[in-house]
Point group: D2
Chain length 266, copies 4
Amino acid sequence: MTKNKVVQNKITNFKIGDITVGEDFLLIAGPCSIEGYEMASASAKATKGSGANIFRGGSFKPRTSPYSFQGLQQEALEILLRLKQELNLVVITEIMDPRLINSSLDFIDIIQIGSRSMHNFPLLKEVGMIDKPVLLKRGFQATIEEWVHSAEYIYKEGNSKIILCERGIRTFETYTRNTLDLSAVPIMQKLTGLPVIVDPAHATGRKDLIPSMCKAAIAAGADGLMVEVHPTPDTALSDPEQQLNFAEFDSLMQELIPIINFFRKN
Amino acid sequence: MTKNKVVQNKITNFKIGDITVGEDFLLIAGPCSIEGYEMASASAKATKGSGANIFRGGSFKPRTSPYSFQGLQQEALEILLRLKQELNLVVITEIMDPRLINSSLDFIDIIQIGSRSMHNFPLLKEVGMIDKPVLLKRGFQATIEEWVHSAEYIYKEGNSKIILCERGIRTFETYTRNTLDLSAVPIMQKLTGLPVIVDPAHATGRKDLIPSMCKAAIAAGADGLMVEVHPTPDTALSDPEQQLNFAEFDSLMQELIPIINFFRKN
Amino acid sequence: MTKNKVVQNKITNFKIGDITVGEDFLLIAGPCSIEGYEMASASAKATKGSGANIFRGGSFKPRTSPYSFQGLQQEALEILLRLKQELNLVVITEIMDPRLINSSLDFIDIIQIGSRSMHNFPLLKEVGMIDKPVLLKRGFQATIEEWVHSAEYIYKEGNSKIILCERGIRTFETYTRNTLDLSAVPIMQKLTGLPVIVDPAHATGRKDLIPSMCKAAIAAGADGLMVEVHPTPDTALSDPEQQLNFAEFDSLMQELIPIINFFRKN
Amino acid sequence: MTKNKVVQNKITNFKIGDITVGEDFLLIAGPCSIEGYEMASASAKATKGSGANIFRGGSFKPRTSPYSFQGLQQEALEILLRLKQELNLVVITEIMDPRLINSSLDFIDIIQIGSRSMHNFPLLKEVGMIDKPVLLKRGFQATIEEWVHSAEYIYKEGNSKIILCERGIRTFETYTRNTLDLSAVPIMQKLTGLPVIVDPAHATGRKDLIPSMCKAAIAAGADGLMVEVHPTPDTALSDPEQQLNFAEFDSLMQELIPIINFFRKN
């Protein structure tokens, strides 16, 4: 791995809007999928009000089955742009098709490379050639070493604005959906210098574990968290079992903010 | 999974050139990567001479590190076309970028979707819209159920010429590169009706296990095998430890052909 | 691993009754648990009549839950001894408590060390000090290297009559109970010289996969098979979903015997 | 799992010496193996001085290879008893042979069931019949459900003084030895009511990850930590790469104590 420039040149902080990534703690929240303007707008207001500083919302959904809801696609991008302008938000969405990278750049601030795309080398090269931050999720079956190499695919093309995201790995355990590997946080920070955030909901697939795993992530030194928030999780078109409602998210934030302050100041 | 048409309509046989897939045993052989015309031509002649009926050769190589050899790309496609015409071959290569599917159609007979691309849904949709057979490798991290859904992504767009390929799954064992899951052969045949072939070299990463795993695959009911053959494996630009030389491949074929005859006639 | 004597001294064949292990193909069959004399006797007669040469029957059952049927224990040992005398059988049962090894020796011919006991070092040392063959199952969580070390624990104490048994490893796949790792057959044979048999039912947990996985095991070079057979699998006190009834076992044997002959003579 | 009494009767706190388990945070420290009186005594004094409240030291070591150091055995038990009396310690050691449980009771305060013994049912029954606390480590390949059943084996025999210990599970990742599953902490606490502690060194196999994983464990709600401390880790007879020296442990404790206070009071 030593050949990799992300390993050689420990990365320095970079800015997204007012946020200094690597210094300010990233609190990314929003619905799994953008299902329409109303629910997205309500979610954006609620999460911002509770303290989130980046709004997430799925546009193109990578779904295991072709018969599952695939996202509102271009319509979702337009909703994100409208919310960005109306509410002065920093916005992130996942793109999984290299043909859509360029056309999405005007709509969003951060491009997310999803877990299933971590080994999609043409896509990695494509986001390596743009001037926007990229959130690179760990493949659920990717080793630390492969994750570093995937970051290097982006870095090598010239884009050093990379945020890493640990989201659980596939193991034999079935009680949780995947197994959150928090040791990846200090390991990847040390190897690459890049900021590493944690997505506890995709890792565990269980709402009740989100608070404890958020706290553990902060204590492990994570640079941010990503949480799914939906106005009415029970009727969500995707991931109903792991999205928080507005009250739950607000209560989570009240619990987490003192912990973030405690650890980030020490 | 019952919603899937590949599960509902057990697929019937289809033709590729003179080969009736699902009836004739597929013997796919050739180098990991096309490194030039001479080595490719020698490999094509040798493997055909020993009994292979499909020629494989990597053009665009999905490599974990961006610094590893990435394949000769368009040049490799042109070599494959030339060999196809000169030697009357059926030819397969992997494509991992949806933007290259259409431009590759004139050069090759079968498009391979590699293990790391099994969850690349835009790519699956793209090969679903063409009129060429697709070899869909199992993701090394994919469950049986996810593999069926990925086949359905192709089938749903209208392409029913799908060949499945078991190539090992990632487990805790490190003695072999991956663990060959031969139970996937009868399971996938029964679930989908599709032909299922086996790639023992990528599964195990060890040359010495190829003969025994080929025999086991045939006995498990596989519809074909894929083996990597290179003029001088030790100097190969990719996968040096798992490619057979011409003499080794010839000797393997002499051992396998009576076994194929024994099982396919019973 | 090179320090290990099982690796240094490739083992030679040994006898159990009339059977030359490593030369004669082992066909071990019988119920998961001995549930009484009648069912055991009927099973022993039926499996012997269909061609099995070793009778298996669980006495002390290692069950995940303390509320599951734990076996008839000493009563089962007595039934095995009675059947051994009445039907001239070679008999195997699992012992998991080192305190019971010596008292079981008069009742059985082969002691089975189960998958969950592969790392039970006091038990391994105990069976290393007796003069009876030991069947050492691979731990479902054990690497090849750990399995070799466990065989060495037995060998080092003086007992070289060891039969290895591949029975599947725990992976992320849930369609089958475990993943049968047939590459372990040639690997362990080559590393240790010891005979390696295969237990496809515990590996897959599915009756319908037993025939194809038995054939694959034979083709991979296995020295034997272990299959669970019960008079009425649906009412079995353990493993109802993976035991064959007498007719199914007879039909399986008729299919397998020509395949065994084909491979063992070549 | 609902049949299990550990699930039905959420357990209440219990005392070990002056410690109220489930209320007081457990800080278990000491060398991997007791290698002699001098090093054990120095370790006990140093760890106690830095704030540890339970002294650990291996007597009978479960080693993968029979040629690795197996522990001082009975001699180690005697050293532990001497230190207990001299320094007024609470002492824990692992026993893996059911025949040694009764004879070890006079020497130690807590019996540890190691990861490889979690499925050793005769051993679990044996410690279920004694009146001493039992530390039950999770099998490195055990599911949450299996771990609950193993606790029930102990509980069912009458012993409710059980401490659970998460120590990592075996996955495909090789950068760390195992993958620490911190989600197991809140899951097991909620399912059983039992205290759950964390052993970060065995989970990761890397000294440099111990501080961050200790903090994450505390934040996840763990009831204690177990850390290996050795006078001169580089010359240790077992686990040299993951034991802290006295200065490192002292520095770790100074970092952790404010974090424990922060979380245990909130």
